[in-house]
Symmetry: C2
Subunit: 321 residues, 2 copies
């Protein structure tokens, strides 16, 4: 049995727990051993927690359990996620995360710490929700020089832009609607000002080019001043407006931007509507590839989180032989 | 240095050689060792072969060289590809292939032989050309129960259907055109009768569900009796006709079909035109994901071939430690 812990039992953490229960049989078959959640850390109270016996408020309970080999960090934000991740890695536990902000800011350092301690720090879920993109970049496209990577990296803004286009309504109106439906947060700045997309394009740039671009060096423009008129104009010209995160090689340097762009209908990204995300990768042999799927939401994101857990678990099983 | 051999120096074999030359530096960096083509086997004569000193007509020259650890089989067809692959695996050499027919018919047996000999048999390039799909299914989506997988798996038929729709021309006319341009073979049966798509959906079914469906148990219908009228009707109804390979779980059994289908414009496959391919995967957590790119052509396919070579090379490097 391979024991894991989940830190942060929000949307992603609880869905990851659900995967381990609902798909237990097939995961055991694919890994060659069962994966069991042994501890769940969260400071909140839960009235209807599915596994109250696993719940603790104290992260040290994970650190003090030597049978836990993998930690899912789904707290989000920089702190205490950074502190907990570092402690787990230095304590010989692999960490899997969906935390894009932490990976964008400290991913390189945490990966280095993982290597020094012969464990893994994996973050497939930090970009594109359930869309496989980090591992394909590292492995499937490893024979290519990547020349450009760009995409629709934020579901909230894509939902808003889609509604504005389909219904001809102004930004503020659609945002309010999205907030009421739970598609946008009450404080929507991270999404609509493009911070979320910045974290993600920074991570993609690091994985694709081996060079990370500091968040403050990414030219960023959100969607808050896109007007219904802009969208109508784009449509008349045969295009749609999308918030695009883009990283490309220019004279050996990586240039990163986040901005609303007019995408021609011939571009495969043009059909990516609502909360869907998609990422286009150009390589010098593969040409153009696109990865498409649900860019957010607990269930889709937990698919990516658990794929990382499964990779580490398979390595643990292989190392026993 | 990791030595490899290429068997079959056609479109895919020669492009794979090009990758090892053009991207040598970045591959060495990503693998931790250099990858060098030591032998190229082909029975044909070449007037302008880029590396005549590596060329041999005798497969035994590869078998007799213990320094060659990876063989790229890009001959195509069942024989002698099957015989050579089996010999290489039993001789302790890993094999990477783009040969969909061989994988569809003998993939399970060859994988078993690879395991027994502690080497690998990898076939990312056998489906979807350069599109990463085999490895994402095995790894990135491993936490999911896959419920359905379907897609546009053949570039030639998709090119013909796209031209028929865009230009309102009849099948025979467009086929002739495609043959003249080299997009369709002079004997186009494997493509237009759906055999090629059958091999590919059979491979996808095996990887996604762990159950292979015998080619003769796949319900197959080609595009040869699709008329310009059919396409016009589909268009009027808000759809496009695509040759779809489809595999789904039905009461625990895998059902595979290849047939022209009317795809609604809301389906992401609807925008996949010309020689592009795309594969949609549905999983019980990830929801719907799509993988899109160039489904054929030497350069794109060699990207997938070389990603498999890199995976094996990384394992060789790791095993030295």
């Amino acid at each position: 049995m391979i024991n894991i812990a989940i830190i942060g039992f929000g949307i992603v953490g609880s869905a990851s727990y659900d995967v381990t229960i609902q798909n237990a049989g097939l995961i055991e078959k694919r890994v060659g051993d069962s994966i069991k959640v042994k501890k769940i850390v969260d400071i909140r109270e839960f009235d209807d927690h599915p596994a109250p016996e696993l719940l603790t408020k104290n992260f040290e309970d994970v650190m003090n359990d030597p049978t836990i080999s993998i930690v899912i960090e789904s707290i989000g934000g920089l702190n205490p996620a950074y502190k907990f991740t570092k402690a787990a890695l230095m304590g010989g536990k692999s960490v899997v995360t969906s935390n894009k902000e932490l990976v964008a800011v400290h991913g390189k350092e945490l990966t280095e710490i993982a290597k020094q301690n012969k464990v893994s720090y994996l973050f497939e879920a930090s970009v594109g929700g359930g869309i496989p993109i980090i591992r394909p970049l590292k492995q499937c496209l490893a024979a290519n020089e990547i020349t450009e990577i760009y995409g629709i990296l934020n579901g909230t803004t894509n939902y808003i832009l889609t509604k504005m286009r389909e219904e001809g309504r102004p930004f503020a109106d659609v945002l309010k609607d999205a907030q009421e439906k739970g598609y946008a947060e009450l404080n929507p700045a991270a999404d609509i000002e493009g911070h979320d997309a910045c974290w993600k394009i920074s991570i993609l740039s690091w994985v694709a080019f081996g060079k990370s671009v500091e968040i403050e060096n990414i030219s960023r423009k959100g969607i808050d001043d896109v007007t219904a008129e802009d969208i109508k104009k784009a449509k008349a010209g045969g295009g749609v407006i999308k918030l695009i995160g883009r990283a490309k090689l220019l004279d050996g340097e990586v240039q990163c931007t986040v901005a609303p762009e007019v995408i021609p209908l011939s571009d495969p990204l043009a059909i990516v509507d609502g909360v869907f995300n998609a990422i286009v990768v150009r390589g010098n042999f593969v040409g153009e590839t696109m990865f498409y799927g649900q860019g957010a939401g607990g269930r889709a994101t937990s698919s990516a989180v658990m794929s990382d857990v499964i990779e580490i678990a398979r390595n643990i099983v292989a190392s026993r032989k």
